[in-house]
């Protein structure tokens, strides 16, 4: 249930104006309706669970990896997190993980000193158990615990300590109690009515901001701002958001978003035929993802430059394996370093990254359809309906007359049942045909020279680099990243009525010179992020 309020606020126009011709200088500032995004609980993703535990207890903690798996919906795990529960198996996994974490914390002097804010006078020191529940509860549940909740954790601690004859052994159970709670496993977002407006209370908003910008639990300063009510004001919220965006930890937030938006999480399970792709190795997918994430980090935080550069830049970060696949000298003997790709080479920007080229391909071949669908849906935010039931989606095998993928696709498109959708995908994907199923350059396909020419809805391109340039120049690309980040931040697929909100966010993004950090700020300050709908 959405709530459209009577007043309109100016959307935040963050940052400085763009210095190129695309700046919306002549556009009137967009205003966003006071309309909340969907509201609901969001289960911590596996990464958020890990990040939160490490932030609260310390980097030495080994967080179990056997947790309820993340599920993507509408292409984003963030949306899946707001629409999934916990399975019986997941309950067992979270329970097991909680005891393993708690045991580590209480067995290590340094970890225990951080977690337990007092020196117990004996196994049943009720005062210390109360302090433990209060302080650790605030960190883990991201809000102060009620008296009943504190008592509950305290009692678990004391009962176990009495039986085991050791305060710290009892504290293991208290910590596990906190970690097993839905208040930890779910980000609670219920909202509350205030002056006739339903908005997120300070602590709910703090968690919302923190998991968006840092992909982890709020730090003490943010919790402090929540405690003193600063987050309920525009200035207070902006101050905290700016502080968080200036922190190196904001890179983790951007990385999490980019990973979901571009679908890079699956690169860990990349499957390629080793007989066809002899240069494939299990390390390739994670390394390729790292390259892409580093590009976004550089553009967003190191240089605070125009986001659209990601489509055309020749600078990228590679390790020795990626360097060899790009046929450039490795900048380092180990790890990543920056290189400049050849100015007249076939690759530039994101569409030349092995991450996307390998992810959106088949185990035995490239795929114009997968790559085209990615471009159409993830970069242009177009819709592609699923294929009709029982339709034959297989392309004809290569033959004497149809050697290249383009020729085979053309034959496939003769079928009107395929044509309607594939004409929106395949021509885009064919622009990347000079790269095989793991992203290595090739000139020919089955002995025939590849023709990568095409157009993006009328904007012609000659090859993959031209395709990148066309996407860079297409205003839909900018709007699309705004749209995806808004979905990611709110955890829901937007309602039609939220389009003006996204327009306003996008305006701020463009007005800032397409700075991604300003886009993140604009979303935090947008009504859709701050206001609460009725909980679902």
């Amino acid at each position: 249930m959405r709530r459209l309020l009577s007043t309109l606020l100016l959307a935040v126009v963050a940052g400085c104006a763009s210095d190129d011709g695309d700046a919306p200088a002549v556009e009137a500032p967009k205003v966003a309706p006071q309309l909340a995004a969907h509201t609901g609980l969001a289960r911590l993703t596996a990464a958020q669970y890990r990040n939160s535990v490490v932030d609260v207890f310390g980097p030495e903690v080994v967080v179990p990896t056997q947790l309820e798996p993340d599920v993507a919906q509408e292409g984003l795990i963030a949306i899946g997190a707001t629409s999934t529960s916990i399975s019986a198996r997941g309950v067992e996994q979270y329970e097991s993980a909680s005891y393993k974490i708690a045991a580590q914390v209480m067995k290590s002097d340094s970890l225990r000193a951080r977690a337990v804010p007092c020196a117990p006078t004996g196994p049943t020191d009720a005062d210390c158990a109360t302090k433990l529940a209060t302080s650790l509860g605030l960190s883990l549940w991201r809000r102060p615990l009620s008296a009943e909740e504190v008592a509950s954790v305290r009692d678990v601690t004391l009962k176990a300590a009495a039986v085991l004859g050791d305060f710290y052994k009892g504290a293991e159970y208290g910590v596990a109690r906190l970690l097993q709670s839905p208040s930890f496993l779910f980000r609670v977002a219920l909202g509350a009515l205030e002056d006739g407006v339903r908005r997120y209370p300070s602590y709910e908003l703090a968690a919302r901001v923190s998991y968006f910008l840092w992909d982890t639990t709020p730090d003490s300063e943010l919790l402090g701002a929540a405690a003193n009510g600063a987050l309920t004001t525009d200035a207070g919220l902006r101050e905290q958001a700016e502080r968080m965006l200036a922190s190196p930890r904001a890179r983790a937030g951007l990385r999490a978003f980019v990973t979901q938006w571009l679908g890079l999480g699956d690169l860990d399970q990349l499957s390629k035929d080793p007989k066809l792709f002899t240069y494939y190795s299990p390390e390739l997918g994670p390394a390729a993802r790292e390259e892409t994430l580093r590009l976004f980090e550089r553009v967003a935080f190191d240089e605070k430059s125009d986001f659209r550069e990601v489509f055309t830049t020749l600078r990228t970060s590679v390790n020795p394996k990626l360097a060899s696949m790009y046929q450039v000298p490795a900048p380092t003997r180990d790890g990543f370093g920056e290189v400049e790709l050849p100015f007249d080479g076939p690759r530039a920007g994101l569409l030349g990254h092995i991450s996307l080229l390998a992810q959106y391909a088949h185990p035995v071949s490239s795929s114009a359809t997968l790559r085209g669908k990615f471009i159409r849906t993830r970069l242009l935010c177009g819709d592609i309906p699923p294929p009709p039931v029982n339709v034959n989606t297989a392309l004809p095998e290569p033959s004497g007359t149809t050697r290249t993928l383009r020729e085979r696709v053309a034959e496939h498109l003769v079928d009107p049942g395929c044509r309607a959708c594939h004409t929106r995908m395949d021509p885009l994907g064919l622009g990347l045909e000079n790269f095989d199923g793991i992203g290595r350059y090739r000139r020919e396909d089955n002995g025939a020279v590849i023709d990568p020419r095409g157009d993006v809805d009328g904007a012609a391109f000659a090859d993959a680099r031209g395709l990148g340039q066309a996407l860079r120049d297409d205003p839909r690309t900018t709007r699309c990243v705004s749209q995806y980040m808004y979905r990611y931040a709110t955890g829901f697929y937007e309602a039609y009525e939220e389009n003006p909100t996204i327009d306003a966010v996008d305006y701020s993004f463009r007005a800032s010179g397409h700075r991604l950090d300003r886009l993140m700020l604009a979303i935090v300050l947008s009504p859709g992020f701050r206001l609460s709908g009725d909980p679902q």
Binding site: P274, K275, F277, T278, Y279, Y280, S281, P320, K321, A323, S324, M325, Y326, Q327, V328, P329, A330, R333, V339, E340, P342, F343, D344, G345, P346, R347, R440, Y441, R442, R443, E444
Partner: protein, 290 residues
Amino acid sequence: MVRARGATWLAALALAGCVGGEVDEPAGPSGPAATDTRTRAYVVTTLGFTRQTKPGVREGFDLDGRVSDKTDEATCFKADAVDPDGRGGIDNELSGIIPTVDGVFQGAVDGLVQSSIRDGQLVLSYELRGVDDLANDPEVDFVFQVGLKAHPSLGTDGVIEAYQTFDPDPASPPNTTNKAHIKDGVLYVGPLSLALPIAIFDVSFVLHLQDAQFRATIADDGSVDGLIGGGIVIQELLDGVKQGAGVEQNLPMIRLAMSASADLAPDADGVCRQLSAALSFRSKPAFVRW
């Protein structure tokens, strides 16, 4: 000096080089400087001993410029062979010894060499500098360089992947010559003196291949495959291996076998001091980090 993971006899006459086989990216740099497109670097990916394919036919080079028969005193009465393409005057007496070595080591000699290359124990690279045309170029500079030991990235086919970057071994100065040219897609180099890392009986040393020559075909996919040949100074080889475990008692036999096959560099007494040799190699594009 490169110490190879040598186990036994002639375990590593290892030229480590580049791997190849895939198509070049259109404007990819190759060489010490990313902007110098006239330099092409390669790393040897496979190296093997050549063998006599049938009586009187073996791969190799005419190292002494003579077509000899068993009456030629200048070759210590060793008859030259012809190569599979019909070239005469081929000097490659080592190929006659290799079957014996194969017998002793159950045919594992080539495998030992290959293991050394795959393990990064023997890294051999070379560069072609000043290349204007990979099909025909009358003047090319050739630089042969031993690389630092480092595990290369291997493809699923077990072959070193192309376009990796290798570091030169500072203890091994480059061997350079301007006696190189490309004709009809075939690279010709030499003669030059070539310092090769050798491992015999776990003893590593550098063997100087005398009047070495290269002949290799440059393929469209960037790979360069061919032969390397030259004269092995028998005394240098014997000096290099004599401290190897278990070698000493076999040294007279080794000396005898090599001396009996020696066919180059006769001294004043008419005794040939060198043994002609040829190895086949494959190489792929690479980079050298100078």
